[in-house]
Amino acid sequence: MKGMTIIVKKITQIICPVIFMFGLYIILHGHLTPGGGFAGGVIMAGAFILQILANGNILPKLRKEEEGLEFMESAAILGFLILAGLGLLFSGGVVFFANFLDKGELGKLISAGFIPLENIVVGAEVCAAIATIFIAMVVYKDEEGK
């Protein structure tokens, strides 16, 4: 896949960090405002996809990135399971996914027990999954053409 013109590349450089930050914002405020892990994760993956569409395929770099994203996805889903298991442990072996942390005050950023942690983990998982699918399509297509 080839890259696009210099105008598109420059605009992408300016816009991509903003998109990424917006995804992070949606994940971190998932327990206060609309959105959450899934929506924020896909927005972050959108930043990745935009970069690849604008800059084209730089094969060795993308290959490395794909391996890192695979690791991130597996680690995130493992973290989700560990959180669930910790809930089981702290509630005395009764409730899977028990909310074991201090709940705090309604409406504050740090509140709602381990729901923000779950949001972060699921966001990482979704972001890595969507970006991996897209990068894999680009990488293996170009290797085939060689």
Partner: protein, 176 residues
């Protein structure tokens, strides 16, 4: 509000019918986007911003992935000539659709009116705010009351990625 919903639903149905009959796969995919983005507006009208955000972002991502797939493969659909056998299939499909419509009408007639009984189901979840301390009710339900379902969803996504990687890797190896 219901008038807007009806207009959007008719547009969505027209878009999906066009995407079935399009001669070019690219225009089929793009007209299928009407369904997704119409669904976004429908969600907003029904006051579900959480779902609307997820739907609009996922729709854009899947459109890009689908267009990339079409660019990598062929975009023409082989044409079918009309045979008497096909007329039988059309007739069977029509009869099945008619039966489905009649059963659907009967079944929805037994339900209570649209939106009438929502509070009966939703009240325990709304009271659950005191329990979860999450100001966003949807996140409170998804990550606390129904965390099992979220685990299942994450597992489905994980499995899908593994499947895609496996298939693409096999294809790459064969050509080498």
């Amino acid at each position: 509000m219901e008038l807007y919903l009806i207009i959007i639903l008719v547009l969505m149905i027209l878009g999906s019918i066009y995407s079935l009959n399009a001669s070019d796969l690219l225009s089929a995919v793009i007209s299928y986007g009407i369904v997704g983005f119409g669904l976004v507006i429908a969600f907003l009208l029904l006051q579900a911003p959480d779902l609307a955000i997820v739907q609009v972002v996922v729709e854009v991502a899947t459109l890009i992935i689908m267009i990339a797939t079409i660019k990598n493969t062929q975009s023409k659909i082989p044409k079918m000539e009309f045979k008497p056998k096909i007329a039988v299939y059309y007739a069977i499909t029509l009869i099945a659709a008619l039966i489905f419509l009649i059963v659907f009408d009967r079944a929805t007639g037994c339900l209570s009116e649209f939106g009438a009984d929502t509070m009966r189901m939703a009240q325990p979840y709304i009271d659950g705010v005191e329990h979860t301390k999450s100001a966003n009710l949807v996140t409170g339900v998804v990550f606390d009351f129904r965390a099992y379902d979220t685990l299942g969803e994450a597992t489905v996504l994980f499995t899908a990625v593994i499947g895609v990687l496996t298939i693409l890797r096999i294809k790459g190896k064969k050509d080498n």
